[in-house]
């Protein structure tokens, strides 16, 4: 058992921050799932909305990436 308690806290915090990625996963899955269910109802309109889907994915994913950033900051910057 070596190292100080601050480093331990940083590592635990980094691990906890990674749970935020689960939220991003739910968000991205929700966006794509709804897109697919809508696209299967009206396939002719689906092609034009692919870009909108990717914008939605990007916004949902950004918040998960913030948690990844927090984890990285705790690992390497604190």
């Amino acid at each position: 058992m070596t190292g100080d308690i601050v480093q331990m806290g940083a590592y635990i915090g980094a691990g906890l921050a990674c749970t935020g990625m689960g939220g991003a996963a739910v968000g991205v899955g929700h966006v794509v799932g709804n897109f697919i269910s809508g696209a299967l109802r009206n396939p002719s309109a689906a092609g034009g909305q692919t870009a909108t889907m990717f914008i939605g994915i990007a916004f949902a994913e950004a918040l998960g990436i913030f948690s990844f950033l927090v984890a990285l900051l705790l690992m390497f910057a604190v």
Partner: protein
């Protein structure tokens, strides 16, 4: 990112998954100054070279029936042109060259970073932050030049109830200034995370050399995982470049038409 030297002290197969992101001078050793030619410089230069070969040399023939390289260039051009036109509208087409430049640089840098032993320039926040800040500043300046102070109406959502508008304005202002952060970290984070995961599996792959017992199970599994992650990374490389370009288009649309 990490300035410590990981994994070099241990011998053999042990390496740190973040080692691949270290910026090292290309010639000799010494501190990395702003003018030092590093591996990041080399791979950015290679990206430019590849783009030049695809878009300039590949499409030089101007053949009516395109050759293979010409059709790659034409596909890329048509794809981005259509995206800019769809998202930004007809008057956004004037800014197509900028978005095409961004997209081509990011997609080629991402794909070059997938080569073994390569350095992924887009995995560094320093690189992506410059691109995102350039987009942010350009879009803000453009919004004020095109609309004057009417650009501020992008924060004032006139379709919402009057009571909600100040609260929404606050949220809009915050989300506007978070844009360069999320724009840059999305790309850097995706590239860094994917490559680090491949390296983590790569660290497990040679386990069969150490212990044949558990190694016979872990080694094939991790090689399979590397293959799967690599395939996913090829997809992610393209999608992230596309997302970066499409978000630039969305920000551009806000600047050109601030009224919701």
């Amino acid at each position: 990112m990490a300035t410590e030297t990981h994994g070099e002290a241990e011998a053999g197969l042990v390496f740190h998954p973040m080692d691949q992101f270290q910026v090292t001078p290309l010639f000799g050793a010494g501190p990395v100054e702003w003018f030092t030619i590093t591996n990041a410089t080399l791979w950015m230069g290679l990206s430019i070279l590849v783009i030049f070969v695809i878009l300039v040399l590949g499409a030089r023939g101007r053949a009516l029936v395109p050759t293979r390289s010409q059709s790659i260039a034409e596909l890329a051009y048509g794809f981005i042109y259509k995206m800019v036109e769809d998202v930004t509208g007809k008057d956004g087409v004037a800014y197509f060259p900028y978005i095409m430049t961004l997209f081509m640089f990011i997609v080629v840098a991402n794909f070059l970073g997938l080569l073994p032993m390569a350095f992924t320039t887009t995995s560094h926040i320093a690189v992506t932050a410059v691109m995102a800040m350039a987009v942010f500043l350009a879009v803000t300046v453009l919004g004020f030049v095109k609309n004057g102070f009417g650009f501020l109406s992008v924060f004032w959502i006139s379709s919402a109830p009057l009571v909600l508008r100040p609260i929404l304005a606050l949220i809009e202002v915050i989300s506007y200034f978070v844009r360069p952060v999320s724009h840059s970290i999305r790309l850097a984070g995706n590239m860094m995370a994917g490559h680090a995961v491949i390296k983590v599996f790569a660290a497990f792959a040679p386990l069969v050399l150490i212990s044949t017992g558990i190694g016979l199970v872990v080694t094939p599994l991790s090689i399979l995982a590397i293959t799967a992650m690599y395939a996913l990374e090829v997809l992610v490389s393209f999608i992230q470049a596309y997302v970066f370009a499409i978000l630039t288009c969305v920000y551009l649309r806000d600047a050109l038409h601030p009224h919701h």
